[in-house]
């Protein structure tokens, strides 16, 4: 029997195993030591490793990010945690101007092995400042790695890699993904940067789903199945470096690409993927491309508008249907109760 863990427990186990293995790993951030323990992802770590290696901080994102850089310079491997990605905006100077650049501007003399964990919020009126998926900001900057695992298996493997990586890694979680359960081996393993996974094989259209949107793509895939369209679903996992080979190979086969981002499309991850695939396949294959993401507005908390704001399995299926059929006949599948919540079971 495969062992099943939640995404939350996978993160906690990865952290625990690495802290055990490597004394230089330290964990800190606002509320990592509080009763809710960052949704449980840091539970028990302070008791096990002590208050020097696991500690809550004041509300000081800017300074604490700079401190993480300093710790890394001195040989530690800090994991700095933020309960919302939105709060990273207070840490931009240290992340973009210092962490990302130090190795290069000091001619390779230093390394900054930090992991910055942050979470994207969704639903229940998270609204304007608690729901943003801003990872494309970090994809833009050379010197930062960006990963957005969508399954418990990947959450563990990617986090272990991120901790061991000698460069800064932005590790992006999603509040809804936290509740996912899936197979997670107990022993330690790593998932290398720049490797995507084809999670469903198909020949008609390629769906690339980022972070939580991967789950919605799996739903779309089931809706499409019911009308005889076979979607291939890809989880890029790492956004920087990005595995464009796997995506381009799929699009080479299907000729149709729909990228579903967990953020805005403009200058976002979907724009980057579309551009890279187009550059790769132009003159080789005629390709139709569609991007989806958050509506180009601030996230509204009111439920009806919030529903319209996010892509979902049905709207993705509709877009994919149009790509495949070359029509715009407004086909939208009726909501299926069995597809409201899918627990992802990846074919690994």
């Amino acid at each position: 029997m495969e062992r099943v863990l939640s995404y939350i427990d996978a993160i906690r186990e990865a952290t625990d195993q690495e802290m055990q293995r490597d004394l230089s790993v330290v964990v800190f951030g606002l509320d990592v030591d509080d009763p809710k323990a960052i949704q449980g992802t840091t539970r028990g770590l302070m008791e096990k490793y002590g208050r020097e290696r696991v500690f809550g901080t004041p509300l000081s994102e800017d300074a604490m990010t700079g401190a993480a850089v300093g710790m890394a310079l001195a040989g530690l491997r800090p994991i700095h945690i933020h309960i919302r990605m939105d709060f990273l905006m207070l840490a931009m100077n240290q992340l973009v101007n210092v962490a990302a650049k130090s190795r290069y501007m000091y001619g390779g003399q230093v390394r900054i092995p930090i992991v910055v964990r942050s979470m994207i919020g969704k639903s229940w009126g998270q609204g304007a400042q608690h729901s943003q998926g801003l990872y494309s900001f970090f994809m833009h900057v050379p010197g930062l790695k960006v990963v957005a695992p969508a399954t418990p298996y990947d959450a563990k493997g990617c986090l272990i890699h991120a901790i061991r990586d000698n460069d800064p890694v932005m590790y992006i979680e999603h509040r809804i993904l936290h509740f996912q359960k899936g197979p997670v081996p107990e022993s330690s393993y790593t998932m290398s940067p720049g490797k995507a996974r084809v999670t469903v094989k198909g020949r008609d259209v390629t769906l690339v789903g980022i972070s939580y949107m991967h789950s919605e793509c799996l739903r779309a895939c089931r809706y499409l199945e019911s009308i005889g369209i076979q979607a291939e679903v890809i989880d890029p996992i790492w956004l920087s470096p990005l595995d464009i080979d796997t995506i381009a190979a799929s699009v080479h086969k299907t000729g149709r690409l729909c990228i579903v981002d967990n953020g805005w499309t403009t200058c976002g991850a979907s724009a980057e993927i579309a551009a890279l695939v187009t550059e790769r396949l132009q003159g080789v294959k005629d390709v139709r491309v569609r991007r989806m993401g958050f509506a180009p507005v601030t996230c509204p908390p009111t439920p009806l508008l919030e529903d319209l704001y996010y892509p979902n399995g049905r709207t993705i299926a509709s877009a994919a249907h149009d790509l495949v059929t070359g029509t715009h006949n407004g086909w939208l599948p009726d909501e299926r109760l069995d597809l409201q919540e899918i627990e992802f079971r990846g074919p690994f």
Binding site: L59, G125, Q129, L304
Partner: protein
């Protein structure tokens, strides 16, 4: 004066109790940060202000919104996500706003509106207006760099702003003691050259008196800015509609002196029974009407999703 204060205190308390009552029905799909126990700060401060004065606050936004004269119906509708809400359902509980009544908004990102408040105060000074700005924030905000940077600038430019730190001892579940070596928040303000005082007992009249004096000095242009640290106590969980003493980060004993010192009860006992009942009945009717308004109002239409991003 006492009756005004009681009405405002009672109104905020009852509105939030009503929100807590409705919350389990899932009709309010918005993270609510209740001020039950903390009303005296908003009331004491806002009773000392004029309508044209403005306030900036935090996601714990119900109390100062109401105390400053924010529209109750629109607030309820906002919590329900309705088109008639104070932000048309686009803000939610954490971002209440009513510019007509000087409620200039609230941020979910700790500390951010302190800087906005000093900017507003700078503009008032430039425009030679005699109104002033109040910046409400929690003890948590004093951890942030923006707090110090804003205080420095406000002091440097002698801005017409009153900083109100609502020190409820915790940032979510983390005590100030675990976040600051020195827990003397007033000392931080004084270090920036700002006159600072602590109100320890949550006495609404003491807060009122302090702010009244500060407001007068600011309007005269004789001195400023001012800083008040108001000790207070949050009786409910950080976010949501329940108590949280079971979590273990604080004890019910710790809350007891604050419960005994409840300003709502204190003022209730200071007002003659007949008049008190009249105030309460009026407030209850107003709340019922506001809830009914929220329930009956429509949700925003789909096309509202795309309005208000930029002008036009």
């Amino acid at each position: 004066m006492n009756e005004r204060v009681y009405r405002s205190l009672y109104r905020i308390r009852r509105v939030e109790e009503e929100i807590a009552r409705i919350y389990p029905s899932d009709k309010i799909k918005s993270p609510v940060h209740l001020s039950i126990g903390q009303e005296a700060v908003s009331v004491g401060v806002c009773e000392a202000l004029r309508p044209e004065d403005v306030v900036f606050g935090t996601y714990r936004s119900h109390a100062f919104y109401l105390a400053k004269g924010g529209d109750l119906k629109k607030m309820m509708a906002e919590l329900y996500g309705k088109a008639t809400g104070c932000a048309k359902g686009k803000g939610g509980s954490m971002h209440l706003v009513d510019t007509a009544h000087g409620v200039m908004g609230a941020s979910a990102v700790v500390g951010t509106t302190i800087a906005n408040a000093i900017g507003y105060a700078y503009a008032l000074k430039l425009q030679r207006k005699d109104s002033l700005v109040v910046s409400f924030f929690g003890d948590g905000a004093t951890d942030e760099g923006v707090f110090h940077e804003s205080l420095n600038f406000a002091a440097l430019k002698s801005l017409p702003v009153v900083f109100i730190c609502e020190n409820n001892f915790y940032a979510i579940h983390t005590s100030l003691m675990y976040r600051h070596k020195s827990t003397d928040i007033c000392a931080l303000a004084r270090a920036h050259g700002i006159t600072a005082e602590r109100v320890e007992d949550g006495d609404v009249l003491a807060i009122h008196e302090h702010v009244t004096r500060a407001a007068k000095a600011l309007r005269d242009g004789s001195s400023g800015p001012f800083f008040f640290e108001c000790l207070t106590y949050r009786l409910m969980e950080h976010v949501g509609s329940n108590e949280d003493f079971h979590l273990g980060y604080r004890t019910r004993q710790e809350a007891e002196p604050w419960i005994r010192n409840d300003q709502v009860k204190r003022f209730a006992s200071m007002i003659d029974g007949e008049r008190r009942r009249r105030i309460e009945a009026e407030v209850e009717a107003e709340i019922q009407a506001a809830v009914a308004f929220a329930e009956e109002s429509p949700f925003p239409e789909g096309e509202e999703l795309f309005t208000d991003v930029v002008e036009g």
